[in-house]
């Protein structure tokens, strides 16, 4: 699998991912002729004499050069002797748990793979571009000393593994879209009625709904830009002539402008959400997205919300972040069994998600209004930064674990 390029800015990520996928397809075509080429270096244990073990990765020979080890830190120099790209895994021969990987090791390239191994039976697996799999000889490690720094072994997550979670998440999104449609209809109605206070309340309610849907923004495509776009470089939500959607309306509702100026944008938003409902019904979520976005939704909050740059006057940053946390929980939800099976510490993550929610919601008053980001004290800001940043740290491994790998 080519690595999906990631950007915290979710709508950009879609484009980048498409580019990389295309490049990956090119690579696949080139490496289709999966025959072996002669090794470019002499294979054998520790050619470099630095304690590393030289092993060969090829389609008729995977892992040769490694025949025995005692436990502890091991460094392999893996040389791809084939004429195509190869993914190389060092895994448990018993459970398939992976201890190290080299993705997309190019023909005649070599790279270092390090792991700290305890007792067990291990093997190298080499997977060529068109998916022939070669498994190397098993190497047993026994009687190794106990140590605290063993590399965690994780059973790879395959595309198949993500099928059901993606379906589950997609169904949740599908169920939320009518709520969103109702919300933007309320917004349009209250703008029509000329009630600015009601319009502001409706705006926050509808926007919060949209902000819970983060793991699907990639699939939303252009609809995301139309509905929740932010102003272009050097412009504001008020001045960007191309900006539509929530932030354009926000800039009117929280300004001196006539409320009626928001009416055409509200009508447009109703229409764009309706379009989204229609198109999403026939859109398939990329299975990679759920795990990736489970991490990145909050990464985006830290980058774009906590610096206040997405706020166009409503001061509802904490409402948005609160919704982003819920969106994160919704993205994690279908992945929980996969993650639990792989030793991921869900309990600690849950603690910090709850802590984040409690802290963020402490900035909501009894009347439902939210304290603007700019009004909190320096000490409160430190608490917010600490709590959300720690939570993002804990979410990051989800994307790493759910990176789709070829199961063996």
């Amino acid at each position: 699998m080519p690595t999906t390029t990631r950007r915290a800015r979710l709508r950009i990520a879609v484009i980048c991912a498409a580019v990389v996928l295309a490049a990956g397809a090119g690579a696949l075509a080139i490496t289709h002729f999966g025959a072996s080429a002669p090794p470019v270096t002499t294979a054998g244990n520790d050619v470099a004499g630095d304690g590393s073990i030289d092993v060969i990765a090829g389609l008729d020979n995977c892992g040769s050069g490694w025949s025995s080890s005692t436990g502890g830190p091991l460094t392999f120099v893996v040389n791809n002797t084939s004429i195509g790209n190869i993914d190389v895994y060092l895994q448990s021969a018993d459970t398939g748990a992976v201890y190290g990987e080299l993705e997309g090791l190019g023909s005649r390239a070599s790279a270092t793979l390090s792991a700290v191994l305890g007792d067990g039976s291990y093997e190298f697996v080499c997977i060529g571009a068109d998916a022939p799999v070669t498994t190397g000889a098993q190497v047993s490690i026994a009687n190794s000393a106990a140590r605290s720094d063993l590399t965690p072994g994780v059973v790879p997550v395959t595309r198949n593994d993500l099928y059901q979670p993606t379906q589950q998440y997609s169904a949740w999104i599908t169920a939320q879209l009518p709520v969103l449609a109702g919300g933007v209809a309320d917004l349009a109605t209250s703008i029509q009625s000329g009630d600015r206070a009601a319009a502001r309340r409706s705006w926050i309610a509808a926007h919060v709904t949209y902000e819970t849907l983060g793991a699907a923004y990639g699939a939303f495509g252009n609809s995301d830009t139309a509905i929740n776009g932010t102003p272009g470089a050097g412009m504001t939500a008020e001045t960007d002539p191309d900006l539509t959607g929530f932030h354009r309306i926000e800039s009117i509702l929280w300004s001196d402008q006539q409320l009626s100026a928001a009416a055409p944008f509200a009508a447009q938003l109703v229409s764009d959400v309706s379009t989204l409902e229609t198109t999403f019904a026939t859109t398939r979520l990329d299975p990679q997205d759920v795990g990736l976005r489970a991490h990145e939704i909050l990464e985006n909050s830290v980058q774009e919300e906590l610096n206040g740059s997405d706020d166009a006057g409503s001061g509802s940053t904490f409402a948005t972040i609160d919704a982003n946390i819920e969106g994160t929980e919704q993205a994690v939800l279908p992945l929980r069994p996969l993650l639990a099976d792989r030793g991921f510490d869900l309990a600690t993550l849950d603690d910090w998600l709850a802590r984040s929610t409690a802290l963020v919601e402490s900035f909501r008053g009894p009347d439902g209004s939210w304290t603007p980001l700019s009004s909190i004290t320096a000490a409160q800001r430190e608490q917010v930064n600490a709590t959300l940043s720690e939570t993002v740290e804990l979410l990051a491994p989800i994307a790493a674990i759910c990176d789709i790998r070829q199961g063996v």
């Binding site: 992976v98 190290g100 270092t112 072994g153 320096a378 608490q383 930064n385 600490a386 709590t387 990176d403």
Partner: protein, 420 residues
């Protein structure tokens, strides 16, 4: 008065007599004492010279922390954190985590491998293997840590408090104080930044950076004590760090402090802007009179070489070294002044440019001392309104108490405090 009038007063038409009078009186105890400070020469040669072997390490464990006595390393970061941990237990975990990371980073080795379970544990800034590079991580606590949050009020070191505004200060409180100060020093800047990132990542939820100031120690130019950005050698008269009895007297906490504090030391950090453009427009004679030393050699104006005694007994009226020269006010070489010296570990800083188009650079003044009031504070008060104040502006820093060292594999920074 040979010493220059305070420049700003002069410029604004005020006469400096009212200022100079008390200064003259204060410096009127011209008792010379011969105090050899050869050790500081060795200290500065070791600290300020060319980069050491990346494998060189300063032992992590000891009665005292590692970044107090050894010569300053070339690169430094001073990072002040506010603790966001919710409970005393979480504070203990935070200090344990800092200890674990500092132990690893200063010892070096291969970072934890994560396989496919997580992103890499290490930033990779130092390559696949972390070289210790004489890294020293020194942790100090600020007065605010002893507020109501963690139940530590009764355990506060006796003189620890929020740094007061001195006569010529322009403190910006957002870049002052803090619950915890990490002084991170190494031979190379990348080693320092790697450590800052590592520790901040490992402690993300438990503390947040309040302010940060990076510094560096210049190479000897051409020899002796490194120069500050005013062009003068800075720190020449430091006490001898190899004299354990002297260090006990001047640096390490003792009587009057809580039991847990033994082996710790009051740490003063003052981030001082130097108005270098203005300074560069001042005659060399005036510059040297303000400092009391020759700019080229570092020698006292009464002597030949850098480490020579200034022999104030031969210059009782300040004909050579003005009575309000910086070095004379700071240390008159009286026995009383010698007994209350501080251990300086100063760094230069370079902070870019200010809105006026002037360069923002200066000094991260760092001092360790046993008795804050009778050492640093007394000296600072003697320096009030010295002529030099027109060219400097202290704006950041704070008072901290450097924790005792870590002794043994099961010990951690602050264990004595948290277990008391």
């Amino acid at each position: 008065m040979t010493g220059g009038l305070p420049r700003r007063s002069f410029l604004s038409g005020l006469v400096g007599a009212g200022v100079a009078g008390p200064l003259a009186a204060m410096a009127a105890a011209p008792i010379a004492a011969e105090a050899a400070t050869r050790a500081s020469e060795a200290q500065n040669a070791a600290g300020g010279a060319s980069a050491a072997d990346p494998a060189a390490r300063i032992p992590f464990e000891g009665i005292n922390q590692q970044g107090i006595l050894p010569p300053p390393q070339r690169a430094a970061a001073f990072v002040s954190f506010d603790v966001t941990a919710a409970t005393r237990g979480e504070l203990a975990e935070l200090l344990q985590t800092i200890t674990t990371r500092a132990r690893f980073l200063t010892t070096g080795g291969a970072p934890q491998t994560t396989g496919i379970s997580a992103p890499p544990a290490d930033s990779g800034v130092l390559g696949p293997e972390v070289a210790p590079d004489n890294l020293a991580v020194t942790v100090a606590v600020g007065a605010s840590l002893f507020d109501a949050r963690f139940g530590l009020a009764a355990l506060k070191p006796s003189q620890l408090r929020t740094m007061e505004d001195f006569e010529n200060d322009a403190l910006r409180r957002e870049v002052c104080d803090g619950d915890l100060l990490l002084q991170i020093t190494a031979q190379s800047t990348d080693t320092v930044l790697h450590a800052v990132r590592d520790i901040a990542r490992a402690t993300r939820g438990s503390m947040q950076i309040r302010w940060r100031r990076d510094g560096f120690v210049s190479a000897p130019r051409p020899s002796g004590t490194p120069r500050n950005l005013m062009g003068f050698k800075d720190g020449t008269s430091n006490p001898d760090i190899t004299d354990a009895a002297l260090m006990q007297k001047l640096v390490w906490a003792s009587d009057g402090e809580p039991a847990w504090a033994a082996g710790g030391s009051y740490q003063v950090v003052r981030v001082i802007r130097m108005l270098v453009e203005f300074w560069d427009r001042v005659n060399i004679h005036e510059q040297e009179n303000m400092i009391g030393r020759r700019r080229d050699s570092g020698a006292p104006l009464t002597a030949v070489a850098e480490f020579d005694d200034p022999h104030y007994d031969l210059d009782p009226t300040g004909e050579s070294v003005p009575l309000n020269a910086h070095i004379r006010l700071a240390n008159s070489r009286s026995q009383a002044d010698l007994d209350t010296r501080i251990l300086r570990r100063a760094y230069n800083y370079d902070g870019g440019v200010d809105p006026n188009g002037n360069l923002d650079m200066g000094l991260v003044f760092v001092a360790f001392n046993r008795d804050l009031d009778n050492q640093f504070v007394a000296i600072q008060k003697r320096l009030a309104n010295e002529p030099l104040v027109d060219y400097i502006s202290p704006f950041g820093g704070g008072y901290f108490f450097a924790l005792p060292g870590v002794q043994g594999a099961r010990d951690w920074l602050g264990q004595g405090l948290l277990s008391a």
